[in-house]
Symmetry: D3
């Protein structure tokens, strides 16, 4: 993906991006009940690489299945491209793990940008220590085959009630994860970047005691004042 | 599928089949929160033909999309083979419709055996009048594209927390729907058919005032008594 | 409200109306988890008269409070205009009753068109015998003050996750309830009425063995065929 | 239990009983999400006989366990006294069956008054044909040991978020189930019976076009009018 | 509000206050599923200023609406009196934001005591940095008009299943939020303050190895011992 | 319990133990929605001592009841043996507290190993400061008798959808709580301890850039390499 877009997306919030999406009629792009495993990491940005789970069946989903190098979960870990985000459709079911610390360590070492699921991860204290962007519903220690069967890679999926198409741009911050349609990523990044500068200006003015009307949403007067502030700030 | 298997499955309940499945270690084959639209229909039996939904995206999922003959939902309606059951993975979300009466009418006319989803159908009073086996979570009038995007056909899916592989044998009765792994269908049908005969014998004896111990579960004595009863009944 | 609109709305389904609403960008007009108490009644149509509940507080919400003629629930029952639909915001909580058979009998005798809540009614077997349109989440016998405090009348409310403004047109059928913004009611009624005629034509053709493509959604050819069918049917 | 109490309770609704309970400060006596399997049966009345389930463990809960005559579920079926109601604490989990038609047939033949659980029953079409009062959350075909372990009999339990002590009086009607503390059953029955007569009077007057104020809740004038009506009715 | 009451409430926990409320028959005053955005802040105390949301409607709830100075959300931010707590009824729906960091910054600068909703806030990492008491269900980045319509100010509302009347005293600590009826605030504060002193005494004695009986709940002996301890501590 | 088992269990994770349990066919041993009150404490290990709650009834469950030394909750606090874990079945209901900081302080001083419930604790900031292992669903300030009645001790219970028999070995870490059948504790501890050593080896190799295939799951080659690594590490 475009490096300027990546840089700008890394500097904005998922909240701001949802506002830009709503302007385009897109209302359902933020994953519900998907949270960061660890707080305080830099913003995660990257194109989606998708992995789909279906419910497990006891005769098919045994621990032995992981030895197969074609097992889609293991294949995802080894083939998700560097800079991409692995997104796992776990059907919002966190009663057993979607992945654990060893697989996530491997993703990190391979240069992947992050991992997201609407299920749960296991070994979350270890994942938190990795400092790698990981988003899930809640910790879930039970081993995956109790509940999940890894079905396939790189199909459109749902995750946290959001449609995710391979190549969509996934952004994660301290609140959660938003999915940008691939063809809109550049313009959304640009717009959100500008909006963020304005909102930083508003925050500064509010701290000085200014009231909201005329300032937020912007008025012609406030836009002029912002232009001045921005050039003073060298932004 | 084997006609003897079809006939036997049509004569047993989904409850009895779950007992036969548990004997083989299969605990998760009955769909949770999937109910018949109309009561009192004959038991539904047929191999699964699968259709998968993901969450809708406002720019892709518009009413106009249905005009495309390659739209997977429309294609499913026209290509699901006679005698099969169309199973739709709606991610357990019934806030908009998975299908409506016109599509289901077409399925019925084409000789399809039934339709199942873990979402909801619209036009359910009309569907009930069709007398066609249809199973869902609850009535849901809102038009599908508000929530669902039909993604693809004949992949393994989840439905009501059950794994459904194309060709698995789907059985539906007045309580709901069970999914039989294809390779086990014949033996499960035979075993459930025998079990049903025994349970009919038990029910008759209980109505005569017999107590459970020694009768249910079966003892050697009760099995002998059953053999006699069965031959008397000509079953 | 316009009698022609009332007549047309009484002849269409809530499902068809959701399609007409989506064409106008309105996606959230059908109440989730709101069901008819009794099946098989004529379609309910009428402007909304709203009643709002908040959680009860034990010192304020006692059975004695009902003796006050200004109690908003009792006032709603006596002042909801004939032909209107009383819509009660019970915050989707059905653990105690939103209303019971005596109050609903009074509404019926007064000529009110129906009653709707996202909570539950008590005395539902008696309500079902009244033959009066009543929609709720599930039967709930516990007396209302255990949970609900009637706060006020004729404010905008939420009901089943739908915004309801006083005067909006409420339509209920065998599947549930849809809310039409007042200013759109006439055009939605006209459009849905036409759509229903076309869908009846499609249903007839499907029963004759026709396939969906070219028929549903409509094509130029099918529209011509429909025009002929319609005039033959005298509709 | 007192036969006069039994007769009166059989003539009132669970809704009316919740009002009498609230007057005594009891707010949580009606089971949430517990519904009749079949509509239209006479009111169920009887003292509670309790059976408690805990979650199953795969090594302990096998089909073979049912052969043990000391298995608490089987023991409950054979020892619940005639006229009592068997109440099963299934922890509100209906993903597998709490009981099925054969066991319930045996209960019926033994003269038990009814069966209640906050889980689900299997073989519900057959149970509905028995005409025996049975209350549960929803149909659940999977065999019980998948989820439930029968732990013990005649301890205080929870069912549908209600405390049930052995000997409490359980009443079930077309809406659901209420639990009366044993020591209050007689006075609650008497009070509800009187209230029902008054409410029948109110219903008759409402049908004649009377308004609610002064009638419901009762005023001195309406009480006098009721006394007259009642003697005219011979009640 | 009374400064002594404010001071005492700031020194007790919401847990202790629920005990004092239960003594008065009030069982439902603590908000369910409402959590502090940031841990470790001083206890929040202030009278409630209420703001009510209903579900959004796509044609009414657009980003442009915020430019209207009469928009109830914006008006709430500018008019909630210093020392008060803004309480937002978001119908327990956290799928889009009830408010964000800029509005909350303005509240803080204006001297408001805190903000509470049963929905979710956006920009929660920024809110956490403000050090301002904010309570919600969970982070929710999507912009508010996707889901919420701000309807009105200063009406009685529900929040987290609790009735909130304007002027009720709202107290928030590290566990959550309790609502005190205005007329009981002084006596509840006094009682909870005394109870807290006793519980601190109990905690000290437990750390010394004392057992609970005779100490908690208090006995005559322990009350005498407490009096001595308290005077020694100069409390 | 065996000290070697205790030591080994203190050195493994609940995640690893679920894998060992699945090998034995045990799929439901990890408590769902049960979380540590405070992060970063040592792993909790000890045999289960059980306490069972049922729903409260307003006339029985009053604050005065705690003065009875036979009250099962208070008795649990004083009699749970040192080194054991007190497990409270709160029926997954966290709307009022299962226990608070004073009782938990007493448990800690008495040498108990930890406390677990599927409900909620009150005074959680104080509990967090104790540094004592406590696991629950979420903070819940309301006083217990609003919702819970302590029924009895040392019966088999359910907690977080897991069967807990007195004497089962309870292990809690930063993710949650797993329950080991008493007779399997020693072998599970030994197996999980070995597995942990291998997984530490894998983690080290992954950090060096090794890929998963041939390493995880183990191959003959990787097992040989591990043996060498382990002896080098002196483990």
């Amino acid at each position: 993906m475009n490096e300027d877009t990546r840089r700008k997306l890394a500097a904005v919030t998922t909240a701001t991006l949802t506002t830009c999406l709503l302007k385009r009629g897109l209302r359902s792009a933020w994953m519900q009940n998907v949270h960061p495993v660890a707080p305080g990491l830099p913003t995660m940005v990257g194109p989606a690489f998708t992995l789909r789970y279906i419910p497990a069946r006891e005769d098919l989903d045994r621990l032995e299945a992981y030895a197969d190098p074609e097992h889609p979960q293991r294949k995802a870990i080894e083939t998700c491209p560097p800079g991409h985000v692995l997104v796992i459709d776990a059907r919002k079911d966190a009663r057993a793990a979607a992945a654990g610390d060893l697989l996530i360590t491997r993703l990190m070492v391979r240069g992947v940008a992050g991992i997201v699921t609407d299920g749960g991860f296991r070994d979350t204290p270890a994942i938190a220590r990795l400092g790698f962007p990981a988003y899930h519903q809640r910790p879930s220690a039970p081993t995956g085959p109790i509940l999940h069967h890894a079905a396939d890679l790189q199909l459109p999926i749902g995750c946290g009630d959001v449609a995710v198409y391979p190549g969509d741009v996934v952004v994660g911050d301290g609140e959660g994860v938003v999915v940008l349609p691939a063809h809109l990523a550049d313009e959304l990044a640009a717009e959100a970047f500008e909006m963020t500068a304005y909102e930083d200006f508003v925050a500064a003015k509010l701290q000085e005691g200014r009231s909201l009307p005329g300032l937020y949403p912007a008025s012609n007067a406030s836009r002029a004042e912002f232009a001045l502030w921005r050039s003073e700030q060298g932004r």
